[in-house]
């Protein structure tokens, strides 16, 4: 955990109350955001996102699989997050297991939507190759390289960028009835299909310190929080996931207020993310 | 020796102490004072077992299940059947996989990630008794010889541990098997066996096992654990008594009165006469358990009829 003296704690809380945080930001201001894409050549898509000192990597790997019996017309997506032991001293050994599981579940909740597939970030029916026989399985892996607060937002942003970077090989199917109904698939090396990532939401975490809430908290600020609400908002401004963290209870009206603030902030975050992606592309072109 | 000094020391203090404190500080003296009066701390006679209840069909997600309470000890057994292909050596037999669980809820001594030491021991003992008693005819679990048979996953969960765990576990296992109803199965076009469910006659495939919905149980084993302390025999000990006593003997007799298993896990030495007395007690207990089991089957049938 972050070791802070009483004076430092007071300074952080006081700064937030006066809308001037320790690093000079206002309460609803993000840290500098940089994005890199295509950093892992073996993966179908990958991205690195830095927010201040927080750094995360997301990768997307697509493999051909078999759809489940219950959903023969849909592909599968699995999300898993790992915390590198180098990211923070407390992640050493088995220390990160609980946090990894918590982040994985929160991301699954925000990105995979309901059981029927409504509100999912990725249209699972677009992953189908042959109904009931073959589909794409997407393995989305997140890695926390360096931790300085707001991991969930950074991971969600990295996954969004990684998905837009993802190209899925085009598949030619030759249905051959003689081979027991198993389709023969031919994976193309040259042609790729791009994903529609407009539905992939971003996550905005509002951390409540004292009476106020802040976005993009550093780990020092997180150590002072009473509770935090992570809201995932898609580009249409619809809520598609919500998780509350921290022990203290919240008044319902505060939660509703936080949701509407998160919605407003998310639109700014979208612009921020888009300009970061544009900057990354410009840098790659040079 | 130390026990005796303990007892005399306790005797001196006895008059000035609350009963609960005395019970916790000098458990041995507390028990022995009771035994001198031929009574147990919970007001039972020495040879008396705790009240036993059997409730069949406690879990609807299993094919057969039973909840057994033996005093405060509670045991939940459930059987789930799955189709598998039988092994090459025994093509016409099914199989039973026994597992005994002690989840952390049952006792303060068990914590998550650190399984109870007693669990694998009881698991093995249950399996041995079940297989050697001849209660089950494994051939009845066969569907199509060499192709398909049932594997019965028998899971016993201890919900509250208060002594005589093996007894409660075995009673619940026996009860679960009496409750077990085998689902209907048929063979599909592709040769795969699948379960059909309740609506008989509606499917286009022929049912394989229309006749075999219940297992015919052979001789049913009934257990009794007796705690031995000095010259006393305490039937069906509680956890408190088990922690004090010198040794115990577990006798399993089948419903025809034959001896299935007898186990004395170390501890103090015992005379042949004591063992014989234990077997005698087990015989009486077996009769009682048989009645309890029959009653529970009737109670369930009444429930279903309503």
């Amino acid at each position: 955990m972050v070791g802070l003296s009483e004076g430092e704690k007071h300074f952080i809380r006081g700064g937030i109350a006066q809308d001037l945080r320790a690093d000079g930001r206002t309460r609803l201001q993000f840290r500098a955001l940089t994005v890199e894409t295509g950093i892992i050549p073996q993966a179908n898509g990958s991205a690195r996102v830095r927010m201040g000192a927080t750094e995360v990597i997301a990768s997307v790997k697509a493999e051909l699989g078999k759809p489940t019996i219950l959903h023969p017309d849909k592909g599968k997506v699995s999300i898993y997050v790992d915390c590198s032991p180098t990211a923070a001293p407390m992640f050493e050994g088995r220390g990160s297991e609980e946090l990894s599981a918590e982040l994985s579940v929160a991301l699954q909740r925000c990105l995979l939507g309901g059981k029927s597939g409504a509100g999912a970030a990725i249209d699972l029916s677009s992953l189908i190759v042959v109904e009931g026989k073959a589909c794409w399985d997407l393995y989305i892996d997140g890695l926390v390289v360096s931790s300085d607060g707001n991991l969930l937002d950074a991971l969600a942003a990295a996954i969004k960028v990684a998905l837009s970077d993802t190209g899925i090989p085009k598949v030619n199917v030759s249905l051959n009835n003689e081979t027991d109904g198993e389709p023969e698939v031919d994976i193309s090396d040259e042609e790729f299909l791009q994903f529609d990532t407009s539905g992939v939401p971003v996550i905005i975490t509002l951390t409540k310190v004292g009476k106020h809430y802040i976005v993009d908290a550093t780990s020092e600020e997180e150590s002072q929080m009473s509770s935090a609400v992570s809201v995932s908002v898609n580009s249409h401004g619809q809520i598609c996931g919500l998780t509350k963290r921290g022990g203290a209870g919240l008044d319902p009206s505060v939660i509703f207020d936080m949701i509407s603030v998160a919605k407003n902030v998310s639109q700014r975050f979208y612009t921020l993310l888009e300009s970061a992606i544009a900057a990354a592309e410009a840098a790659a072109d040079e | 020796m130390s026990a005796e000094t303990d007892a005399t020391a306790a005797g001196g203090l006895a008059g000035e102490m609350e009963v609960e404190a005395y019970r916790r500080l000098f458990p041995l003296a507390f028990l022995e004072r009771h035994l001198r009066e031929s009574v147990r701390p919970d007001a039972r006679r020495l040879a008396e077992a705790r009240p036993t209840t059997v409730a069949l069909g406690a879990v609807s997600s299993a094919h057969g299940s039973a909840l057994v309470r033996l005093g405060d000890t509670a045991m939940l057994a459930s059987i789930k059947l799955e189709v598998m292909s039988p092994s090459a050596e025994t093509p016409d037999q099914g199989s039973v996989a026994v597992e005994f669980h002690m989840p952390p809820i049952c006792s303060p001594l068990v914590r998550p990630g650190r399984p109870a030491e007693a669990a694998p021991v009881i698991s093995k003992a249950l399996e041995d008794v079940l297989m050697s008693s001849g209660m089950l005819n494994l051939k009845e679990l066969c569907l199509i010889s060499g192709k398909a048979s049932w594997v019965a996953y028998l899971d016993v969960y201890c919900l509250n541990a208060d002594g005589s765990l093996f007894d409660a576990a075995l009673i619940s296992v026996v009860a679960a098997f009496t409750h077990l109803e085998i689902p209907l199965v048929s063979v599909g076009d592709d040769g795969r066996v699948f379960t059909v469910g309740g609506n008989e006659g509606k499917t286009k495939y022929e049912l394989v096992n229309r006749e075999k919905r219940k297992l015919t149980l052979g001789d049913i084993p009934f257990p009794l654990t007796c705690a031995l302390h000095k010259d006393s025999i305490l039937a069906d000990p509680t956890a408190e008594e088990e922690s004090i006593i010198e040794t115990s003997v577990t006798v399993v007799l089948d419903s025809s009165g034959r001896l299935v298993s007898i186990q004395k896990p170390g501890g103090g030495v015992t005379s042949m006469a004591t063992i014989k007395a234990c077997i005698g007690l087990a015989k009486e207990r077996g009769q009682k358990l048989k009645e309890i089991l029959t009653d529970s089957v009737e109670a369930m049938e009444v429930d279903q009829a309503e």
């Binding site: 029927s116 809520i239 022990g247 | 299940s65 998550p112 509250n160």
Partner: protein, 263 residues
Amino acid sequence: MMELLDFMLSWCFSSTQPKGYMLCSTVFLRRICTLLSVSADDAIMLLLLGNTEVMQTGPTTAASGSAYAEFGKTKVIVSVFGPRESKKAMLYSDTGRLNCSVSYTTFATGIRGQGLENKEYSGMLHKALEGAVMLHTFPKTTVDVFALVLESGGSDLPIIISCASLALADAGIMMYDLVTSVSVSCLGKNVLIDPTSDEEAWQDGGLMVSYMPARKEITQLTLTGEWTDGKITNAVELCMDACSKLCEILRERLKDPASLASE
């Protein structure tokens, strides 16, 4: 009307139906809901009518406190141990620790061993309860909350949470308030309270609220699927209302633990 709905639901979801019925049943369920226009208020009725609930304290005598809850098919036992000595490896702490663990029996779900998928429940239970327990009343020690799901029939986590707070109260652990929890499933335009596992399997979205009625505070809130603002507000208010009602039942149970609740 309710009987009809009940009958139709049980027909189209009975596990005895071959798989083909299961596939069409999502469409079928929506149709039933629109047909009967199940509104939020009716949904509460559904909770009271459709699912018999049983809650009682004290099934496990070996524990400091315990509770058993049965909502329809879902059956849960929670035992509370302690306050007792913390593990040796733990550092000194001037507040107490709350340790939660949720496990499933191997036969809890239709497919054997499927309950292992819900690993995150232990952490979620901890988060729902930690805001309510007065940790400073038992420094240096640990209170263990162990839950065992005997049978899973939907809405598992909210039932575990409510049952655990009943067990904590039974153990005499100091709490600010009882935490009760209720979840809703969103199917098409309708919101179903206390969903069964079949309803959960086809839901468009789900929402779970853990609530302390006397303090009017939400300790845990999770949401999946796509929701509009207005719908979230309605669903959360519906859950809070149901939580308050459930809390009344828990209070009754604590006052008179001997009687069995079956409403």
